[in-house]
């Protein structure tokens, strides 16, 4: 566990802190995520993607639950993901992060904003539509096409 912590705590803490903006709360989420992994390591399917990517997704979801004071609805067993780039090492992750920031930077402001509100603030598409005054369908499509734009950047 200590090894896993040393290897992945930075990304887990960074994601939790980005969502929550509070070091104490981010620490709580960090603790919970690693304890969940310790209690149920089989939840991570090593045949798919890197542990770092999986932990990042689990952490983001848990941090959003924490932020919105709601119970987790998705069991960690059910979080299966496939990531094209190899994100196992720090260097790969750093390069990928740089690339992701580049892609986000090139998005239209409305799309970037919808994606970030959905992802980092955990806002529902209805809440985003209310806030921006845009149709629900437009908000949904912006979120999805934003995610796919990220994927395509790594497929080229």
């Amino acid at each position: 566990m200590a090894q896993l912590y040393d290897r992945y705590s930075s990304i887990v803490y960074a994601v939790a802190l980005r969502v929550l903006g509070d070091t104490g709360a981010a620490e709580d989420v960090l603790q919970e995520v690693f304890l969940q992994l310790w209690r149920k390591p089989s939840a991570f399917d090593a045949a798919r993607g890197s542990l770092g990517s999986w932990l990042a997704v689990i952490t983001r979801n848990r941090a959003i639950d924490f932020l919105r004071k709601r119970r987790p609805e998705t069991d960690i067993d059910d979080v299966v993901l496939s990531v094209a780039p190899d994100l196992a090492g720090d260097a790969e992750r750093a390069r990928a992060a740089e690339k992701v920031r580049g892609v986000i930077g090139t998005m239209a402001p409305a799309q970037r904003s919808a994606l970030e509100m959905a992802y980092w603030e955990g806002m529902s598409h209805s809440e985003i539509a209310d806030k921006t005054g845009e149709p629900l369908g437009t908000v949904k499509t912006r979120i999805r096409s934003g995610l796919i734009a990220l994927r395509k950047a790594f497929q080229g």
Partner: protein, 257 residues
């Protein structure tokens, strides 16, 4: 518009854990029957992982590490109680839980000196071999507890993830402990064989084992060449006497975590 396209936008929201209530239930029902959408969901979750990577910030404070390790040690002690109550495999069915029994006992050796002394005294009075047993336990537990140990999880190469193996390998001591569970039963006169896949060279036999009635099995410190660097571990089915080279197919394989 195909059925999948109708679900496409909602699938992205689902990947963000943003669908609730009826919308979520409807998507769950669709996912249960649609492999294409399950695949797309996995990819969308992968996309969200990329997004998560754009987060950058300070490292967590040092105290967070100790807090976690203390919590793990506490839970490990609690996990110790039920393991002797049934005939179930003593390491349960999970990898980490799998090692909990050994870890807990070893932790008790190293951290709970009082309990250790009592336990040792009791063993000593009964068998007079406590020291040898202690040394043996230390030796067996070393690959699990040593922070330098290479930890490798082996999973089924097929879709069903139930069979699982966990290898703890200490290269500098050529010491290996392997625990498996949910292993399918074997044909007569066949056995599973564990292989150490070195960074260079051919696979090295690392023990032949047969699962018990619960599908559990272990290999403890098989004879290995000195200080071989392991790239991965794998499992094949061989004759019960073992083989010197793996017979395809490889059933399970795992590289270092």
């Amino acid at each position: 518009m195909s059925e999948h396209e109708q679900f496409a936008d909602d699938l992205a929201l689902y990947a963000l854990d943003g669908l609730r209530g009826e919308d979520r239930a409807r998507m769950d029902a669709h996912l249960a029957t649609c492999a294409a959408c399950r695949l797309e969901l996995e990819q969308l979750r992968g996309d969200t992982a990329l997004l998560a990577l754009s987060a950058a910030g300070p490292r967590p404070p040092q105290r967070a590490r100790q807090r976690l390790l203390d919590a793990v040690a506490r839970e490990a002690r609690v996990a110790r109680v039920p393991q002797t109550s049934t005939r179930a495999p003593w390491w349960g069915w999970l990898g980490w839980a799998a090692t909990a029994a050994v870890v807990v006992f070893a932790l008790s050796l190293w951290r709970e000196n009082t309990a250790l002394q009592q336990s040792l005294a009791s063993m000593s009075s009964r068998a007079g071999e406590s020291r040898r047993e202690l040394e043996e336990l230390r030796r067996v537990a070393a690959p699990i507890l040593d922070p330098e140990a290479q930890r490798v999880t082996l999973v089924s190469t097929k879709a069903a993830p139930q069979p699982q193996g966990k290898a703890f390998y200490l290269r500098n001591r050529s010491s290996l402990v392997f625990l498996a569970n949910n292993m399918p039963a074997l044909p007569p006169r066949k056995a599973y064989e564990l292989w150490l896949i070195p960074v260079n060279g051919a696979p090295i036999p690392a023990g032949v084992f047969k699962p018990d009635a619960h599908g559990s099995a272990s290999v403890v410190n098989p004879l290995l060449p000195a200080a071989v660097e392991a790239k991965a571990f794998a499992i094949t089915v061989e004759d019960e006497t073992g083989a010197t080279a793996p017979t395809m197919p490889i059933l399970m394989m795992g590289a270092g975590e």
